[in-house]
């Protein structure tokens, strides 16, 4: 399990740094695929570990993108809130540990879980970012665009997973 998470961490960092940081659809939508790492940590994992791992992910993305503190602060907040959101979306009567996915959460629930997490992430990130340059209309466009793109990409990765790794 641990190795699988570790590989996912590196893969997502490289994807984000090499590919998705450079893609800006219509100049407004940027995808934050690295969020998938936090989404995909096991449900029963200690929340402190989830928090630290999320923060670490944000910090690494920051170091590559020269945006020190930006992604990290967002990931700290998202990593903290994940526990409460999982309470909402994951059914509690399953006792064994599992990774959130299309299979383990009923389809609709998984999309809602991803959607809520992404929305929180994107809104906070753009609010912090807009301290340097403020333009309300563009801010809303960027939040909406990034939200849609990120949710679509995370669901796309998930569907690759479903087809590829289903034994």
């Amino acid at each position: 399990m641990a190795i699988w998470q570790f590989l996912l961490f590196i893969l997502l960092v490289l994807l984000q740094v090499w590919l998705f940081n450079n893609i800006h659809v219509f100049g407004v939508a940027t995808s934050f695929v690295y969020l998938d790492f936090t989404l995909r940590l096991p449900v029963k994992m200690n929340r402190n570990i989830v928090l630290v791992l999320s923060a670490l992910m944000g910090l690494v993305i920051d170091l590559f993108g020269s945006t020190l503190g930006l992604n990290m602060s967002v990931m700290v907040i998202v990593g903290f809130l994940r526990f409460y959101l999982l309470k909402l979306f994951a059914s509690r009567d399953i006792y064994e540990d599992y990774v959130p996915s299309f299979q383990t959460l009923a389809n609709f629930m998984f999309v809602r879980y991803v959607g809520t997490m992404t929305l929180i992430h994107v809104v906070i990130l753009h609010l912090i970012e807009s301290f340097t340059l403020f333009d309300p209309l563009r801010l809303i466009l960027r939040i909406l665009g990034s939200f849609i793109l990120t949710v679509l990409l995370i669901c796309a990765i998930e569907s690759i997973n479903v087809k590829g790794f289903k034994e």
């Binding site: 450079n22 929340r47 402190n48 928090l51 503190g69 930006l70 700290v76 907040i77």
Partner: protein
């Protein structure tokens, strides 16, 4: 006492959250200082290597635009060379005392250039653009050196590690050099609005400054970073905020930031001297 310990243990996630949040906000607020700090340069070496992989792919894809850019630039320079040759010929016929020319050249030779390649260039997020170059302290790069492309201004070196350097481009609101309209002495501050990487605005130009659409904007040479006359762009449009005493100009940049690969770093041998004398004046 035992209850207190239990309470803290039970709510340790809050403590951890506050701690991490504090750290990240601290980084966020003191971002600029950290960019200049030495702690980062170790990581920068690593990041530079990671970016070199993606750059090797990208540079092939950009070759075509770069070639055409270079050809155009060569054409312009050849014209200039021809003009200068003529000028030299006419001038050399007049007899100048040789000493006077030698003194002039001390200033002219103060600026030298080092060539480097861009390994990472993200013109993306508002306010947070940086460029990584494949040369660092070992090649003689230092902080606060100017960076040019074959077409015009790029930015300033902010941090160097042994093999890489990080550049803050003019497409980052944190860096606002002063520039002027070619042929006049009216100057203003360049600043980017975070929207389009092809345009930049020149702010705080006096209202009475006369200029035309299409005029060239060059660096003012007030700082020790760039020599005077580095090309920036052409005036595309002008606008003025209500109640503002200054004009703002929309500038079309000569440098194509989306296909940047070869750059020149400006070294200024007379920099120390200039800074020292400026400092001396302030002390009095």
């Amino acid at each position: 006492m035992r209850n207190l310990v239990l309470f803290i243990l039970k709510n340790i996630h809050w403590l951890l959250f506050s701690l991490l949040a504090f750290c990240s906000f601290y980084l966020l607020i003191y971002n600029n200082e950290f960019q200049r700090s030495k702690y980062l340069s170790a990581f920068q070496e690593m990041a530079g290597k990671v970016y070199m992989v993606s750059n090797s792919v990208e540079s092939y894809m950009n070759l075509k635009t770069i070639n055409s850019d270079l050809m155009q630039r060569i054409a312009v320079l050849e014209h200039e060379v021809r003009d200068y040759k003529k000028e030299v010929e006419t001038l050399s016929e007049l007899v100048y005392p040789m000493d006077a020319r030698k003194h002039e050249s001390v200033y002219l030779n103060a600026f030298d250039f080092i060539q480097a390649q861009v390994v990472n260039n993200q013109i993306s997020r508002m306010g947070n653009n940086y460029i990584t170059l494949n040369k660092g302290a070992l090649a003689g790069l230092k902080e606060d050196m100017g960076v040019l492309s074959s077409n015009g201004i790029v930015g300033v070196v902010v941090n160097v590690s042994p093999h890489f350097a990080r550049v803050i481009p003019i497409l980052n609101p944190k860096y606002q050099p002063s520039c002027k309209i070619k042929g006049t002495d009216y100057f203003g501050t360049l600043s980017w609005d975070g929207k389009d990487s092809r345009y930049i605005s020149l702010k705080e130009v006096p209202q009475h400054a006369d200029f035309n659409i299409g005029d060239t904007i060059i660096t003012s040479g007030f700082s020790t970073i760039f020599p005077e006359g580095v090309l920036v762009g052409t005036v595309e449009d002008t606008f003025k905020k209500k109640g503002d005493n200054y004009n703002s100009l929309k500038i079309r940049l000569f440098t194509n930031f989306s296909a940047l690969s070869e750059v020149l770093i400006v070294t200024n041998a007379a920099k120390e001297e200039q800074l020292n004398i400026e400092k001396g004046e302030n002390d009095e």
